[in-house]
Symmetry: none
Subunit: 222 residues, 4 copies
Amino acid sequence: MPTLPPPSARQRRKEARPGELLDAALALFVEKGFAATRVEEVAARAGVSKGTLFLYFPSKEDLFKAVVRETIAGRLDEWNQELDAFEGSSAELLRYGLHSWWERIGMTPASGITKLIMSEARNFPEIAAFYEQEVIEPGDHLLRRVLQHGMDSGEFRPLNLELAVYSLIAPMIFLLMWKHSMAVCLPADKQFDPKAFLDSQIDLLLRGMLATPDAPTERTAP
Amino acid sequence: MPTLPPPSARQRRKEARPGELLDAALALFVEKGFAATRVEEVAARAGVSKGTLFLYFPSKEDLFKAVVRETIAGRLDEWNQELDAFEGSSAELLRYGLHSWWERIGMTPASGITKLIMSEARNFPEIAAFYEQEVIEPGDHLLRRVLQHGMDSGEFRPLNLELAVYSLIAPMIFLLMWKHSMAVCLPADKQFDPKAFLDSQIDLLLRGMLATPDAPTERTAP
Amino acid sequence: MPTLPPPSARQRRKEARPGELLDAALALFVEKGFAATRVEEVAARAGVSKGTLFLYFPSKEDLFKAVVRETIAGRLDEWNQELDAFEGSSAELLRYGLHSWWERIGMTPASGITKLIMSEARNFPEIAAFYEQEVIEPGDHLLRRVLQHGMDSGEFRPLNLELAVYSLIAPMIFLLMWKHSMAVCLPADKQFDPKAFLDSQIDLLLRGMLATPDAPTERTAP
Amino acid sequence: MPTLPPPSARQRRKEARPGELLDAALALFVEKGFAATRVEEVAARAGVSKGTLFLYFPSKEDLFKAVVRETIAGRLDEWNQELDAFEGSSAELLRYGLHSWWERIGMTPASGITKLIMSEARNFPEIAAFYEQEVIEPGDHLLRRVLQHGMDSGEFRPLNLELAVYSLIAPMIFLLMWKHSMAVCLPADKQFDPKAFLDSQIDLLLRGMLATPDAPTERTAP
DNA sequence: GATGAATGAGTGTTCATTCAT
DNA sequence: AATGAATGAACACTCATTCAT
């Protein structure tokens, strides 16, 4: 089996460039906002010169859009598949879903994208629409499926899906906003543990949603 | 007791200036962010010239700080007093508290301050600290009192106060962020009603917190 | 008769600004071309800062267009009127016209506009079209009238008007190009006197155009 | 006499490179001016990469000088020889000279060099001096010889040589400027035919210069 | 006090030039 | 020799801030 000639060091760098720039840009846009971030800073953080950035992205705004597009791209497919395959109770499913959201998004740099979009939405309405379409809407759909499934099985009491979904979205978005704003600025003794909060929050919500809320944190025995 | 002569119209305008500028600045900072807002726009929106703004605020940053300070100033005293005087159940108290928060803050332009601070916290850590000290901390304290009271009376089951408080804060902050970011950019059919969401959310949380969650939306009969 | 309050020194400066900037811009654009002229230079030459220039002209390109528009504006009306009132021979009229062109355009800074337009036409086709419409076309028309008049009176032999007109335009444009390019770069001994050239050229052309070319430089005796 | 082995195709291309680059550069400099032309465009038009251009020319300015030098190089020798060999009348000689100028220069891409130099002279005074020395001065000398010859033979009336020469140069330079600026921007109905103009112009000038201007367009019969 | 003309430091963007491959 | 990725100096344009009126 013939191997392709190994890409030169330069080639490797070239291919990595856009990614490095996008990482740097995401971090800085999240930290300082779009307007307050200088492209030179982004370039410096990616280890290149200002000019190089413009080799890959035609303008600061295009860089911004690329950051959003790349960070968001197709993140929800995995969950939809997992949902289809999931075999436990709806409560377990919810719990699993939020935990894995934290592991795959909340904990990672990608979490910043939400803060960024919330902060800049009004300056970039197309971006907001894109986020709605690519993240909120599919996420909403996914959560609805979970809740509907729980209601159909009698596990959950009847819920207003439209609103209940936002009860699940709210703590996630709150967590991201908090993490990327207040948490960065407060001393250690004012912090709280995101995972503990998530657990506590799921617990509370499940108690509120289950038809038989006696033992919401454990799977009901057969 | 001699009364002061009534201030002339001009006098009145002059005294109103800072307030008009602060209103304009709040609206624009919330809409576009600090960096992307031009002082000239603020001045124009307040109906004065650029120079005049600098007569009242020595710099754009000082204007920003004044906006935060003025919008926030001592908003929580009222609630603390109401809490002391409240005579209903803790569930009712919570319900009342969140509703009145919506009426007095959430619905008003002051609601923007939270989005603003979340967005700019990392650029202005002192502002974040100020907000923590003036809003979060007292709000946290107030909510703890409510929850503690409910627990003491046996109305609520035992809760981890530290985390439970954030379960109440989360939907509020989510609501503000959403309102000032996504909601502005989405078409009518993608919107949801904030008050309905609040109601539904309180319902859910109360079911989760009450010791006897049978009738969470109504005060338990004697 | 009440006089208007005299404009303040500042007011006076403000009103003079655009004109000063246009003068400076014309000179520099003619000298270095559009692309090679820095707006800061233009501003400096007009005695203001870079920012001030942008107070009056939204962009470098707009400045360029304004230069062309202002320098050209309605220069030919005067000649048309003089032509109507002229009482001498056509030869005298031609001679007078070219001399006064030199006095009013050729000798003045406005002469640079032609060099500028010839040099930049292909980068600014609208400008070229504007020049054609505002200068070439009316000038062409004016010259045709003169030649036609001479032919009608029998003073000139039959001419192909279309081409003959360019025989008059050619030395003018040549003179302007030469003056603003080569002449500036050559030592004194390589120069020639524009007025002497004009005289000699008119002489030559008149000899070529007159029906009785015996005494082209003097009005034919009765 | 042994012949060198024929250069390979690659070799030929390699040797042709500078020429292809010079052609591309001439065309673009003429079209857009020196400052507004990007070296990358020149390279692209010549079918090579940006880096390659700098292999042949150490800088953009050197490229410019090479363009001028190569385009101009020794164009006048031929005419001087033809002049020495010419056997017809001076009028015929002039007519022949201007026609062949049009064929060999005016019609060809080399014609652009004059527009280029006129436009850029003040940014590159050495270039202007070079052009004066290599083109104007020899051309001037050549034309003087023609006119002097005509005066010596009694064919032309006495002329101020210094000025009369520019009467011949003027229409040529005008034609080049026009062709490379206005003509490119104007619609078909505003154009004129260069050769027809040249004919008409020569006719006019000869009538003005000949001692016996009766039949300037035809050689006087013996 | 109020204005808005003026400033100049700062930033996004371009492009001639270099150099590792 | 040829490439094209990378650079950074240069430049158009913005905008917070000043200050003469």
